[in-house]
């Protein structure tokens, strides 16, 4: 099996889907001739030309609108936000024009659109380039949101997202593009609505996504070496949440800790906590704990930036507080 970096896996997904379906095209800033600011579309313009790797002017609002118009005719655009944060300029397009269309047209039209790009807190990129847009878009009905975290799920999810008839927000993370993993050959589409059980366990359910998955795995290694048995679930699907998988896990462990990169207020964790409380209250031995980023603009200073996001040590601590040795069999 070939080892691919995450950005290479995403590129492979795009390449395969463009090859398979001539309606698929990519658009965004510097996706064509430049090859993409994170190299996700490197080399594709030479193969497919300027109409299918469309270099747009810096006009997120209108080019997202353009993608929506094109998608309504049956074309399948992949819109790249150079940084997901820039897509705040296209909020109206995404919420009103993409999300709502299937409903307001009584089922007549769909927008088979993928909006992808890097987000999350990077390395000292500053407040405006460290956005976590999943918080803002999660309440728009009609949108689907997935967050990839590995080359394997990145490729599988992106292929599925491109084939879906729904508008999909595909969240990548600035710090994960160089993660390496062996990728099996073949289609290997991932479900857009399924969470991924990364590690089975029985002591506590750790719910996470994107970059935090890797911090949780780090923490899990430490915990396992100290005799704990955590179950790690990568949410993958942020909207809709895979309550089935989550419920099965909590019914087993009776303890839940959410580890997210969103800010505490109004993030994915806030929604998830409410759902777990509402549906699984009787299964819980104690309140759901949520570790989120601080409700501050991300500072430039590396020291402060590290304090903004959850660190593996905090995850270890949270599990230990929740699972005292006596309460764990």
């Amino acid at each position: 099996m070939a080892q691919l970096l995450l950005f290479e896996a995403l590129r492979e997904a795009i390449l395969e889907e463009m090859e398979r379906d001539c309606r698929v095209f990519v658009m965004g800033e510097d996706v064509g001739h430049y090859g993409g600011s994170y190299k996700v579309t490197k080399g594709l313009a030479e193969k497919y030309g300027d109409w299918r790797l469309l270099d747009t002017p810096i006009a997120e609002n209108s080019f997202t609108g353009l993608a929506i118009g094109a998608a309504m005719t049956g074309l399948r655009p992949i819109v790249e936000g150079m940084n997901m944060g820039f897509l705040l300029l296209a909020f109206n397009q995404i919420a009103n024009n993409a999300g709502m269309l299937h409903y307001t047209s009584g089922g007549n039209f769909t927008t088979p659109l993928v909006i992808r790009g890097p987000g999350g807190v990077g390395r000292q990129l500053g407040a405006e380039h460290s956005q976590r847009l999943e918080s803002y878009f999660q309440s728009v009905p009609g949108l689907q949101m997935v967050a990839c975290s590995t080359p394997v799920n990145g490729k599988g999810l992106l292929k599925s997202a491109i084939r879906s008839q729904n508008p999909v927000l595909f969240f990548e993370h600035v710090l994960l593009y160089n993660i390496k993993q062996p990728i099996p050959t073949g289609e290997n589409l991932s479900s857009l609505e399924r969470a991924e059980v990364v590690r089975e366990g029985k002591d506590v359910t750790l719910l996470t996504y994107s970059r935090m998955r890797h911090y949780v795995i780090q923490a899990a290694r430490i915990l396992v070496s100290q005799g704990y048995d955590p179950e790690v679930i990568d949410l993958v699907s942020l909207k809709p949440l895979d309550m089935g998988t989550i419920a099965r896990s909590i019914q087993k462990t009776h303890r839940a800790i959410i580890v997210e990169e969103c800010m505490r207020t109004g993030g994915i964790g806030a929604t998830l906590r409410a759902s777990i409380m509402e549906y699984l209250f009787d299964e819980l031995d104690g309140p759901v704990v949520c570790l989120s980023s601080q409700d501050v603009p991300t500072p430039y200073s590396g020291l402060l930036e590290d304090m903004t996001v959850v660190q593996p040590g905090q995850i270890v601590q949270a599990v230990k507080s929740m699972c005292t040795k006596e309460s764990v069999q």
Partner: protein, 410 residues
């Protein structure tokens, strides 16, 4: 003529959902066929297509292009068609006004009466393969795309027979097969989305033009300028149509726009100012614009000088920012239906009495459609959760109410 279920050269279907009824009718045929079958012969005495010359007295003003000619030709058949359709549109809007005042239509309702010449003249120069997108004052545009009055009024009443099953409302009417992309509530939406429609035409090498309509109020949105830049950059086949009815709700164009005029705003996009109250001027201008685009010359802009009799919406009396004299004056001097009426009587094609009878027939058609709409049932409760997502991945999708999720108990 390509049909709605067109296939791409790579063998895949063009439309994500191949709609029913593949045959694409041109607009006039559909209206005659559906609304007035069998009655056409009785009430249009002059069925011959003898060309009738028409002057267009208000000059076209052109920016960076040649204006179209100030005259055109029409025929008896076309004149009666225009008369009927505009009357149906007018009556439909008036009927909607009444239904709104009776509390049967709620929310926002933006009426088009006074602007009929733009919708009708435009469709006379286009086919339904030319995609159209507009904003919220769309009932007549939707009708012009081959919808029935029932589909419009039932939607306004929020009934199942409505074109969006009652879930869209006044601002969200769509026609898949006839390439009508709505119906948009947020101002400034048609230019970028329309530019996307034009992008698709170019991508698929279709010999058609996209038409994106918006108002004088929307013209100051940033996304409009952004879209135009892309259209000009990539020479997309798009006609931007500004329906300048001189008021963005209660703000006149003079109080909103630093530069008077919309046709000459953009240096790199040619524009033409058109008398939007003359269906002939509109038809000539749109035909001219279509030719421009199909010659690969890129986008072009048409500013339609038009007027709405109603206020901005049913919540706006429309008289606090303009005088009743002004409204009555336009109605007296420039009414689009009167223009056609005068020409028909002048050419001796029908008497005023006969035209009155024809107008009454149109009114009866609308009244029948209103009755049909009122008889249509309200949506079923389950309809609340349909069409949020398109379930196509074989995995269960959760609705708005999380009680719909199924948990496997061990």
């Amino acid at each position: 003529m390509p049909v709605a279920g067109a296939m791409l050269r790579c063998g895949l279907p063009l439309l994500s959902r191949v709609g029913g009824g593949g045959r694409v009718l041109s607009w006039p045929d559909a209206l005659l066929a559906r609304s007035w079958s069998g009655q056409a012969e009785q009430h249009s005495p002059a069925q011959d297509d003898k060309p009738i010359p028409v002057d267009i007295p208000v000059p076209f003003l052109a920016h960076n292009c040649d204006p179209p000619p100030q005259h055109t030709e029409t025929s008896g058949e076309e004149l009666f068609r225009f008369f009927r359709v505009m009357n149906v549109m007018r009556r439909m809007e008036i009927a909607s006004d009444l239904l709104y005042k009776q509390g049967h239509i709620r929310g926002f309702c933006h009426l088009y009466d006074g602007q009929e010449a733009v919708a009708v003249g435009m469709e006379a120069a286009l086919t339904w393969e030319d995609p159209l997108i507009t904003a919220y004052r769309e009932h007549c545009n939707y009708l012009g795309r081959g919808a029935t009055v029932t589909q419009v009024v039932a939607e306004l009443l929020g009934r199942q027979a409505g074109c969006s099953r009652g879930k869209g409302g006044s601002m969200h009417m769509y026609h898949l097969d006839h390439h009508y992309y709505g119906g948009n509530g947020i101002v400034g939406t048609p230019p970028p989305l329309g530019t996307g429609l034009a992008y698709a035409l170019q991508y698929l090498k279709k010999p058609n033009v996209a038409v994106a309509m918006y108002g004088d109020g929307s013209a100051n949105q940033g996304q409009v300028a952004e879209a135009m830049n892309m259209a000009a950059l990539w020479k997309l086949p798009i006609v931007y149509v500004v329906e300048n009815n001189h008021f963005g709700m209660g703000t006149s164009e003079a109080r909103a726009s630093a530069h008077h005029g919309f046709y000459d705003r953009v240096g790199y996009i040619p524009g033409i100012k058109v008398d939007g109250m003359s269906v002939f001027a509109v038809k000539v201008a749109v035909a001219h614009a279509k030719e421009w685009c199909l010659a690969g010359r890129g986008p072009i802009l048409l500013e339609m000088d038009t007027y709405r009799y109603h206020g901005h919406s049913m919540s706006d009396p429309g008289s606090t920012y303009r005088t009743r004299d002004e409204i009555q004056g336009v109605r007296r001097e420039r009414d689009p239906i009167d223009l056609v009426h005068k020409l028909i009587t002048k050419e001796g094609l029908a008497t005023a009495e006969e035209l009155k009878a024809l107008a009454k027939e149109c009114r009866a058609e609308v009244d029948a459609a209103v009755k049909e709409s009122e008889a249509s049932p309200e949506p079923e409760e389950a309809e609340l959760f349909t069409h949020v997502y398109r379930a196509d991945t074989g995995v269960e999708m959760f609705g708005a109410d999380r009680h719909a999720s199924r948990l496997q108990r061990n």
